[in-house]
């Protein structure tokens, strides 16, 4: 199973249990990060995820997974790029909300907004 969280993390693991709030128990969990046409994994283990942080649960289709044109690389190699991506995205969001706030009177949503 693929689980996307509100902070943008992508977790892969075996779904062991869930409930009405979408609280999840995920076993053998790895976090995947992406950059360009590469991805990397880091091992986490057993997770209980509170439902409100869940965006989406995806069932991985094994046949389709083989067609995915991405190559796996070392986590350490990709982590820096991924961090850079996230930071530049955050920076752009901040600039954007600042400009809209000044010019158009839109409110700033701050770090806990919908920009996950």
């Amino acid at each position: 199973m693929l689980v996307i969280l509100r902070d943008g993390r992508k977790l892969h693991g075996v779904l062991r249990s869930y409930d009405q709030f979408a609280n999840l128990v995920l076993e053998d969990t790895v976090e995947r990060i992406y950059h360009g046409n590469a991805f990397a994994e880091s091992w986490h283990g057993l997770f209980l995820i509170r439902g409100e942080n869940v965006v989406l649960l995806g069932e991985i289709d094994l046949d389709k997974e083989e067609e995915v044109p991405l190559k796996q690389v070392e986590y350490n190699l990709l982590a820096a790029f991924h961090k850079q991506d996230a930071e530049s995205k955050k920076e752009r969001e901040e600039i954007k909300s600042q400009i809209l706030y000044e010019q158009k009177g839109f409110c700033k949503e701050g770090g806990e907004g919908d920009g996950y």
Binding site: R92, I95, K96, I99, L100, Q103, K104, F106, E109, G113, D114
Partner: protein
């Protein structure tokens, strides 16, 4: 105005009177909609048709040269459900 004349006693009455009319909706995330309102509920979930969405887009690359950095993107959708938690305001059609 006397509430008994306009038939408006609570905020939702204003939306009720806008059913099947074109309304303006302001949303979180720098978005605005206009469309014909067909349904709503207590969460301000809406169902609208013939919707035009306006998204404010800021191009940070143009900030340096100080020109108009806010662009708008528009798109149309035939039938749309809008989740209530994103709604900031619903405005009835202007009666001119």
């Amino acid at each position: 105005m006397d509430p008994s004349v306009t038939g408006i006693q609570e905020p939702f009455d204003l939306i009720r009177l806008s059913l099947s009319e074109r309304v303006f909706v302001k949303l979180r995330g720098d978005r605005e909609l206009t469309g014909i309102l067909h349904a709503y509920d207590g969460h301000m979930n809406l169902i609208m048709s013939d919707v035009e969405e306006t998204i404010m887009i800021v191009d940070p690359d143009n900030i340096a040269n100080g020109q108009n950095v806010v662009n708008v993107a528009k798109r149309k959708m035939d039938m749309l459900f809008v989740r209530g938690d994103g709604v900031i305001l619903v405005s009835p059609p202007s009666r001119t």
